[in-house]
Amino acid sequence: MTNLLWLLPALPAFGFAINGLLALAGARRTEGPDRGIVGFLALLFPVLSFILTLVLWQNLSAATESVRSQSELLGVKLQAPAFAQTMGDWIRAGDLAIDFGFRFDKLTGIMLLFVTGIGSLIHLYSIGYMAHDRGFARFMAYLNLFLANMVVLVLGDGPIVTFLGWEGVGLCSYLLIGFWHHDEANGSAATKAFLVNRVGDLGFLVGIFLLWQIMGPGSSLTYEAISAWFRDPAHAAQLATPAVAALLTASTLLLFVGCTGKSAQIPLLTWLPDAMAGPTPVSALIHAATMVTSGVFLLARMADVFAMATTTLHVIAWVGAATAVWAAVTGLFQHDIKKVLAYSTVSQLGFMFLAVGVGAFDVGIFHVFTHAFFKAVLFLGAGSVIHALSGEQDIRRMGGLARKLPVTFAAMFAGWYAIVGLPFGAGFWSKDLILERVYVHGGIGLYSIALATAALTALYMTRMMILVFWSPSRVDAEVSHHVHESPLSMQVPLWILGVGALCVGFFWADMIHLDWFARQLSDVVGPAQAILVSGHGGHGPSPWLLAGFGVTAAVIGILVAFGLFRNGAFRENGREPMGTASRWWMLAFDGLHTVVGIWPVSVVAWILDNWIQPLLMGILRVFGWLVELAGSAIRLLQRSRLRTHMALSVLGLALLLLFLARELL
């Protein structure tokens, strides 16, 4: 079973190869390749990958159970099992030895289950959504490639293999944001996403190398080895020395910079709202459910390292909280339905980092899991609305769609119910756990920020729902004739994910003592959390009380939203609700990037262009001139007469013979 791990990324990669070839083969025809075949193949391989993940998960669970019963029998704590497969050497350079290997443990399994599962559903949805697009085959090929890279990212047995997938999903994100590249704005959004992510990736790489320095040259760079090294009590003294502690803080902070790039946290967050230029299934799959959560995944994967760097965890918690509240406020001012959801994603990612920052890695992953369901259904529902309104994305020109699009409405209602945190939806359980952990381990400051963000989340999400579905219709008369429910291939994912958004929270319903999810992750992140929690023994107030606060915040947000936007009333005439203040609020980080990132580079570029370039060109000119001179000298030998040539070559031959025979003479 173990040696089938490579198939997980290989299946979608195979789909990419076939669909890519089909897309190329059909490039000349006006219609493109046959949509039935392309759609079938594009869906088949992710589904196969999902089934394989399920089988592997079953086997791993069985293995874990047997190990657990054994260790109870023997009274010894045995290592939790994990499937691993090494494909071979990858990098051999001096002390550095990196194998290309995959590792399937409980954390990987949970990530893979929803990556391939939701991925398959979104592939199915895309078949309906992109059916009329000329680039259908190319689109499906990119989606398959994305899935393959995402699986590599999650399945990698060390940070370097993860980095390979990390870059791969970045590439696919770039390709898919700029999918409709005939519009220049889409192309620049793609470029922006790519460039901003490069800054983060640099942090990731340097962070890994610093980590390797800490562990000492020659050590193996796999998650297993890293965890073992940082768990080993023998290294505690070494980690306590100021120099190593500083190095560790730097290393973890740099890794976190990588996560801020991929997961759109302060300061590298501006690319995600712009990334909405891509087709809606892309926004749902890449920019909501899977890729953007890989930062949280990485932190949980290296929980043992971060558990030793408490300073970094504080930074992560505060950055997460700041991002959550900033994005929630920004989401209030958006008119584009996808932008609202994009800022909502940034805000929810902030929640996840907040959870990780207070040491609740498993809760962070749980929120990743539930968020994948409800945000995917919200995006897919938004896509369905856009599809129904012939491409309209402005919520000021929507309204009253609940009756016309019943399936879409029901699905988005489920997503809305989950994200605002009303009782027993998916978001209720995960957000509530976050709030509880933040209250116990993070202090009252972070808790009040998180609570305020929960209220803001309810406010902007309810605003969106009111403006799209409940308020009086403001749809253009011409468009409203064509309003139609989406095809079946788009409805099925909506149904499944809508039900998921309501139910998946019960995998870890702490208050009613369902903790399946936590037990799965306890082998992976348990030791790290035990270290972090050991300092704070105290228990907070009853979880029911904290949940009550959370629900109260949500209800307040919902009521305020109904009070403000009940009639779909807007200050129209094109002005922002709060004028320039909101504009400044939204563009603050673009400005920051310009000052911190672009200006210094521009200065360096100016110096290079105006001083260094002429200097280098001058030196090159001298060489060029020398070569030219030599050439014109040699050209004198080039006579046009055949006979002269012959004579010269005979002369040369004679000289050569004389030289060879010089000892005989």
């Binding site: 080039q638 006579r639 046009s640 055949l642 006979r643 012959m646 004579a647």
Partner: protein, 104 residues
Amino acid sequence: MSFLPTQSLILAGFLFSIGLATVLVKRNLFFVLMGVELMLNAANLSFIAWSRTFSGPVGLDGQVAPLFSIAVAAAEACVGLAMLLSVFRSKETLDTDRFDRMKE
């Protein structure tokens, strides 16, 4: 009594010099080709002379080489003459001094 190839080699050198002189001096491409043939045959003659010196009257080592060389020379003459014809058709002359387009 051993065979001394002196006379043969002198003859071969003489033939070679005549061939080389023809190639260098003649302006007609046809004669240049004939000069090349002459040089080839001079080489063949020296092969046979040295063969007689080193492997005796019955040794065939050096005598086989001219056979190959003659066959190649025949083929080469064929191609050479065909090219000569085609050059003449396009240029209307065989004067080598007029073939100076390469320099530009």
